[in-house]
């Protein structure tokens, strides 16, 4: 046995409790994140005026229930957060092995606070600051050596629950073991994507991200492009989020952005891009006018009577935002091959294309020049932009994909012609004609060390069996057991097979169903267990409605009836296979995808899992065995008592097509069973699922037996649900068609119009599923709903 106590090695057990200083947006939401993973938190704020001294912190905790998107993974998590104030409750800090400071971004305030808490902090406690701009070494001034050894930066991105990036920032005196510990903790316990930053202004994410915005702004001005057009150009077409540049800015707040730019201007005086660290006059005018973005109701954009308006850069008046890229440029943005796309951009005469080429070139130029200063390798920069800014690929990756030497040549040309935003040459390493990129089998380029740096070898990453891969990095081998249209079955080792769907959004059509049958057959012969898993979310958006509707329209109900039955048989096959089958879920698991999940022997879910039987939204009911599984759960959850209260619970979930806001909620609702694991980091799913599957195998797994004695609510249950539906219909809350769906759903979930307490077998409920599903599928209104959802991605209420 190792001499080191397990407590020190296991971040889960080492941090059961934490303190967060500062109950502002970031502080409170960091507390919410900690609470979601089971850590109790003392949330500190200044004392209030009244008798209840910790009222300000309490109000911040209450406000967590109202944020959009929700900061709390589950409302009950708020119970783990205890309000506190700096005057009465400092003693409580003694208990906290981790203290995260997220107070106002003022050096003096932070340092005063550190001095004040120093006497009560446990010697072993780690103090981390969420500062986004103040140099760590300045904040560490005045700390004794022991304290400084356990002080560093933990920079969360807003909103902390949803932004994957967490920057771990050292300062000179920090103990490297502390950083290692936090990297493990933040990755496996908090589920964050950790990158090691350096103690430079803006760290990695904001240094690059803010410049990316500035480069867009200055180039837009140069080419005379309006903000709404710029957003059309700098969004998904170049691999960035739909909110692109200016809409993102409105969300962040123009004042916040201005403040960061100001910090850059002050702290990076000898930066060759120093001249760009300023806002264009029109943005400055908006800030001056108090038009700060979403929080003030107007910024670069505003909404007037459902019309989105954008500010005119010259007059500062608002006009409807309706700019569209030139068709010729839009055509270029649709090019799939990154190299061809870049070439098309730089060779186009169109100002919109030239703007994009200039913006990208300036960004690449900036990143190459700063790489050695701000990051250990190009890897950190690219991951920061993926995880912190929602880019599909980081700047180095997209440069590499576009053809390294070609892009480097283009940048050099611009510098020589004086077109670049800074007049410095690309670093030698970037201009090396033999260079093909920065990411490769040997790792990622470190400009500081002048060599490739392998992936971080922190033990926590051994839990990521298929880690996130940068463009240019070789893929993790997935030894194929079976590959055919719709599915890929591969060997995870230890005779555990992984089944992935290769369909769009992992929807389930006839190919996937066929694949499930064949994969099971093969795995049953050669493997110990099967894991249903997708490398990227969603787990599955459900049945392939396009295929279903086409079959229905072409060949009628006779053609789709066997499809439904086949889906049910696939579900049953998953459940009754002699292999233990584990669903490893992340992202959406909807409709048919949820039905598969329910039929697995066990579920392992990433915290960010959105699970629901949402068939009612497209005018249907679950008919892949989902209602049967729900009926089984109703009986189990009623523990021998009245099944109806559970039927009512499930009826509401299915009838309203509700989707869980997290795996914790899915578990509370019953989609996951009470003790099934929720994994904060989605990349660890496979590791946990494998352990789970092997445990089932080793414990002598036998498939569940087909039940013939399911207790159902019967006629009385249906009547109760119909009473509820009658009120909703008369009250105008649901449509006639909703009502029909509801009555049919009620009938199936209650096991048909049998005497209450009747025991039925699984086939009976499966037959009810099919009958009522097919009856609904034949209605015009259901077909209209399916068509509408396929076209718009949104539900139709008819």
């Amino acid at each position: 046995m190792s001499a080191e106590p397990i407590l020190a090695l296991d971040p889960r057990r080492a941090i059961g409790h934490a303190a967060v200083l500062g109950a502002g947006v970031m502080g409170a939401q960091i507390a919410a994140l900690l609470a979601a993973v089971g850590i109790t938190v003392d949330l500190f704020e200044l004392p209030g005026e009244g008798a209840e001294r910790s009222a300000p912190a309490r109000r911040a905790i209450e406000a967590l229930g109202e944020t959009k998107p929700p900061a709390l993974a589950e409302p009950s998590c708020a119970r783990r957060i205890r309000p506190a104030n700096y005057e009465d409750d400092l003693d409580r800090l003694r208990e906290a092995p981790l203290v995260i400071e997220a107070v106002v971004e003022r050096e003096s305030v932070k340092r005063d606070l550190y001095a004040r808490i120093a006497p009560v902090l446990a010697e072993t406690a780690i103090l981390a600051t969420n500062t986004s701009g103040i140099p760590l070494h300045r904040l560490a001034e005045g700390m004794d050596t022991a304290r400084a050894a356990r002080f560093c930066g933990l920079h969360f991105f807003n909103p902390p629950r949803y932004m994957h990036l967490l920057e771990l920032v050292p300062q000179e005196r920090v103990d490297p073991a502390v950083l290692d510990f936090l990297e493990g903790f933040a990755t496996t316990v908090l589920g964050k994507g950790v990158i090691r930053a350096r103690d430079t202004v803006g760290f990695v994410g904001n240094r690059v991200g803010v410049f990316a915005v500035l480069s867009v702004m200055h180039n837009a001005e140069r080419f005379g492009l309006a903000p709404d057009l710029v957003d059309q150009l700098t969004g998904p077409g170049v691999g960035r989020p739909k909110s692109a540049t200016f809409r993102t800015l409105d969300l962040v707040g123009l004042d916040v952005f201005a403040h960061v730019v100001e910090t850059f201007a002050r702290c990076a005086a000898d930066d060759p891009w120093h001249g760009t660290y300023r806002l264009p006059a029109w943005v400055e005018a908006l800030v001056h006018r108090g038009a700060l973005g979403q929080k003030t109701g107007a910024g670069v954009y505003r909404k007037r009577e459902r019309v989105i308006e954008v500010v005119d850069m010259a007059t500062l008046e608002y006009r409807p935002a309706e700019a569209r890229p030139d068709p010729q440029v839009a055509e270029i943005l649709r090019i799939q091959d990154p190299a061809a796309k870049f070439q098309a951009l730089i060779h186009s005469e169109h100002p919109q294309a030239r703007f994009l080429a200039a913006t990208l070139a300036d960004l690449y130029h900036f990143c190459a020049w700063h790489l050695g200063e701000i990051a250990d390798s190009a890897r950190e920069v690219d991951l920061a932009m993926r995880w912190g800014y929602g880019w599909r690929a980081g700047p180095f990756e997209s440069w590499q994909a576009a053809g390294w030497p070609q892009v480097a040549g283009y940048i050099t040309g611009r510098v020589e012609r004086g077109e670049a935003l800074a007049a410095v040459a690309l670093p030698d390493w970037a201009r090396d004609p033999r260079r093909r990129g920065v990411h490769g089998p040997q790792g990622s380029w470190s400009a500081r060390l002048g060599r490739d740096l392998p992936r971080p070898d922190h033990p926590v990453y051994r839990r990521q069996l298929v880690p996130e891969r940068l463009l240019g990095e070789p893929p993790v081998p997935k030894p194929t057991l079976l590959q055919q249209p719709g599915i890929h079955l591969w060997d995870l080792g230890d005779r555990v097979a992984v089944l992935e769907f290769t369909s769009y959004m992992h929807s389930i059509g006839s190919e996937v169903i066929q694949g499930v049958f064949e994969a099971l057959e093969l795995a049953e012969r050669d493997c110990r267990a099967l894991i249903l898993w997708q490398e990227e979310p969603p787990f599955s958006v459900g049945a392939n409605l396009m295929e279903f509707l086409a079959a229905l329209e072409e060949d009628g109900i006779e053609a789709v009836a066997p499809m439904v039955e086949r889906f049910q048989r696939a579900s049953l096959r998953l459940k009754h296979s002699p292999l233990p089958v584990v669903a490893a879920v992340q992202g959406m698991a909807l409709g048919g995808g949820c039905e598969f999940l329910l039929h697995c022997d066990a579920r392992v879910a990433a915290l960010e899992s959105y699970v629901g039987l949402v068939e009612a939204g497209v005018g249907l009911i679950p008919a892949g065995g989902g209602c049967k599984e729900v009926a089984l759960r109703c009986e189990a959850e009623s523990h021998g008592g009245d099944v109806f209260p559970r039927v009512r619970h499930w009826f509401e979930l299915l009838g309203m097509a509700r989707t869980s806001g997290s795996a914790l909620e899915a578990r509370r609702w019953g989609f996951l069973r009470a003790h099934e694991p929720v994994v904060p980091h989605a990349r660890e799913l496979l590791y946990v699922a494998k352990a789970h599957a092997l445990a089932l195998y080793e414990a002598g797994y036998r498939p569940p037996e087909r039940r013939e004695d399911i207790r159902v609510a019967g006629a009385t249950g249906i009547a109760n649900l119909r009473a509820h539906l009658a009120n909703l219909l008369r009250g105008g809350f649901i449509s006639e068609h909703d009502h029909e769906i509801g009555v049919r759903l009620a009938t199936v979930l209650c096991g048909g119009e049998v005497d209450p307490g009747t025991r039925v077998d699984e086939d009976w409920i499966l037959a009810l599923e099919r009958r009522h599903f097919l009856a609904l599928a034949q209605t015009d209104k259901t077909q209209a709903r399916i068509q509408h959802t396929l076209t718009t991605g949104k539900p139709l209420r008819n």
């Binding site: 009385t716 249906i718 009547a719 109760n720 119909r722 009473a723």
Partner: protein
């Protein structure tokens, strides 16, 4: 036929449900309290002479199940020879109990009877703990049976063109009258204050400790409401409806007991009557417009008692909803100032099966205190009925 006299009537304060002052108080305990109080106030009466205890309850199950009348009378210390029966006519249950007790006396079968009503909507929700509808109500197109009370109020509002503003104004007036009445002490004679006992764990001592709190006023009336506040509430029962939590009766907990005697009973125990029971009528209407019940019941009971509407000095019209109250008032031309002069269920609360007995208490004390002669208690009833009882002050 003999005359039936109301000798006395007492009630608990009415608490809010499900999180009010009686949220953890058992309804049978509330009933015990009013039975004891009634007998204590009429100490000349030999409890063994009580011919029957008839208690109304709208959801007679769980804490108020198993014939709560019999259980409570035994717990209240009445002799075991005194029988008890629980009756259910939903919201008219308490008035039904008064009518049955009076009829028992009028028909000469008893000289003394106690009518009562009890309901804890905190502990037994409306609809009961385990609703179990009959599927036939949908097959036979009797869907009105399944309608919640709120929906029926929406239908009445539509059919009788009662708009949101009128409903909110009516609700505000109910609160105003209730608060003014409390201020004037109008409820003092009828209310028996209750000492609520909460039993909570004391982990330090590892014992269960009792926390006591005296309750002597109705919890429902709000001084802080206003037309603006009422207007802000969203309709709950219909997407584009007008019925809100603010212009509906409040869910409540409470109990009341009424002592009824024949002339012989009065003489035997030297009791002074407050009022005489004149008659009672119940009529059925369509379930989906149950709120209009009083429109049918009031003319019928007046006809039976040979009285005219103009002779009614005081009408206790249960405010199930402002919408149906206004429809009844408009349709029958009830004089607004004589309807619920002390406020109604929107402010005072509506503990379903207890309300009839509670408002009987309010009426008989009120008629006497104000020197008025004729009065009426009337209400609409779920699944479509209207009930009305007429009383005359005496002495």
């Amino acid at each position: 036929m003999e005359a039936a006299y109301i000798v006395d009537a007492v009630r608990t304060p009415v608490g809010k449900a499900p999180r009010g002052v009686f949220s953890a108080t058992r309804p049978d305990d509330l009933l015990v309290h009013v039975l004891r109080g009634l007998l204590a106030r009429n100490a000349a009466l030999d409890p063994g002479a009580v011919g029957d205890v008839i208690c109304g309850c709208a959801m007679p199950e769980a804490e108020q199940g198993l014939n709560v009348a019999r259980i409570a009378l035994l717990l209240a210390g009445l002799p075991e020879t005194v029988p008890g029966v629980t009756v259910n006519r939903f919201c008219a249950s308490g008035l039904e109990a008064v009518a049955i007790a009076s009829d028992r006396v009028r028909s000469g079968q008893a000289d003394i009877a106690i009518a009562a009503g009890v309901e804890s909507m905190s502990l037994v929700p409306m609809g009961g703990n385990r609703p179990a509808y009959n599927l036939r109500i949908f097959e036979d197109d009797q869907v009105g049976i399944a309608y919640g009370m709120g929906i029926t109020a929406e239908i009445v509002a539509e059919r009788f063109a009662v708009d949101r503003e009128a409903q909110d104004a009516f609700a505000l007036e109910s609160h105003r009258r209730a608060l003014a009445a409390r201020e004037r002490g109008e409820f003092d004679a009828e209310i028996l204050p209750v000492e609520v006992v909460h039993r909570v764990p004391d982990p330090a001592q590892a014992v269960c400790v009792e926390r006591r709190r005296a309750i002597s006023h109705d919890e429902g009336p709000r001084a802080d409401t206003s037309l603006e506040a009422l207007a802000r509430l969203r309709p709950v029962f219909a997407a584009k409806g007008t019925v809100t939590a603010g212009n509906s009766s409040q869910r409540s907990d409470g109990a009341a007991a009424v002592l009824v005697a024949s002339e012989r009973g009065l003489r035997r125990f030297g009791l002074q009557p407050r009022a005489r029971f004149l008659g009672y009528t119940v009529v059925g209407v369509a379930p989906e417009v149950m709120g209009i019940g009083p429109i049918e019941a009031i003319p019928r009971v007046l006809e039976r008692t040979g009285l005219k509407l103009e002779q009614m000095d005081w009408i206790e019209l249960n405010e199930a909803f402002a919408a149906q109250s206004l429809a009844v008032i408009a349709k029958l031309g009830l004089p607004r100032e004589r309807v619920n002069p002390l406020g109604g269920a929107i402010a005072l609360g509506h503990p379903l099966g207890a309300t009839g007995a509670i408002r009987t208490a309010t009426l008989v004390h009120g008629l006497q205190r104000h020197g008025r002669r004729y009065g009426m208690v009337t209400m609409c009833v779920g699944t479509g009925m209207g009930a009305a009882g007429v009383f005359e002050a005496v002495g």
